[in-house]
Symmetry: C2
Amino acid sequence: MYKHILFATELNETKSYIEDKVAQLQQFTKAKLSIIHVVEPLPNVYYGGALGVVPGPDPIGSLGNTKLLEERAKEVLQPLANRLNRTEQNLHISIGHISEEILAFAEHENVDLIITGSHGIHGFRLLLGSTANAILHGAKCDVLAVRYKE
Amino acid sequence: MYKHILFATELNETKSYIEDKVAQLQQFTKAKLSIIHVVEPLPNVYYGGALGVVPGPDPIGSLGNTKLLEERAKEVLQPLANRLNRTEQNLHISIGHISEEILAFAEHENVDLIITGSHGIHGFRLLLGSTANAILHGAKCDVLAVRYKE
């Protein structure tokens, strides 16, 4: 049915119902399973000052902060990969625009199903994720959008 | 994994790769499977005249035409239901706004996965279907969008 499933994960979903569905679909299809998480680079500005709103040069450097995010992602994703019986080769952390990186990986690696959360929490609201939306619009393969459980 | 799958079908997909995926997912999950097709009511105008562009009152009546579409849908969908081992009870033909009818059915019947084609052919172009888009935005359950094979 599917030969290569790509689980596009945000860090906040890693211990959840989405993971269970990914595991079951992989077992059912015997597909290769890859996991991708995309870190968006931080802008090179620093919102400091008394009111927290004065932009200036980032004293740490955006590259440094992005690197920290990448390290943090690895810490969270490695246990996820283990739970899904994946090795480090199946785990991909990219830096860039989220949906573009996911779609590029999917196309390059002949992915035939992308699994992603459909909604994200923005403040107190549950909204259709812009990532899910962009993936659905751009994917050349099937997309399973898993609804966030409230 | 899933307990009630809803296959939202357009008539042009009925003999296809989407059907195979629906069948396999149903077998895997042992879920109840419902099939829905929505007929959009025709507007009560008649585009006749020498150039085919002059709107006027519909001489047959939009209700009559919509009824014809519904009958036609039944003819195509009954064999589909048979192939998927469904009885007439699992086959639902609604008249109304496509995504609204699908979403209303899904919510009312506790559907936990909607399967639909992701793209439609509009003339010579392959576009993300507005139905798939509306379902993804409005669904309170998971959505599997199956890519049209070119």
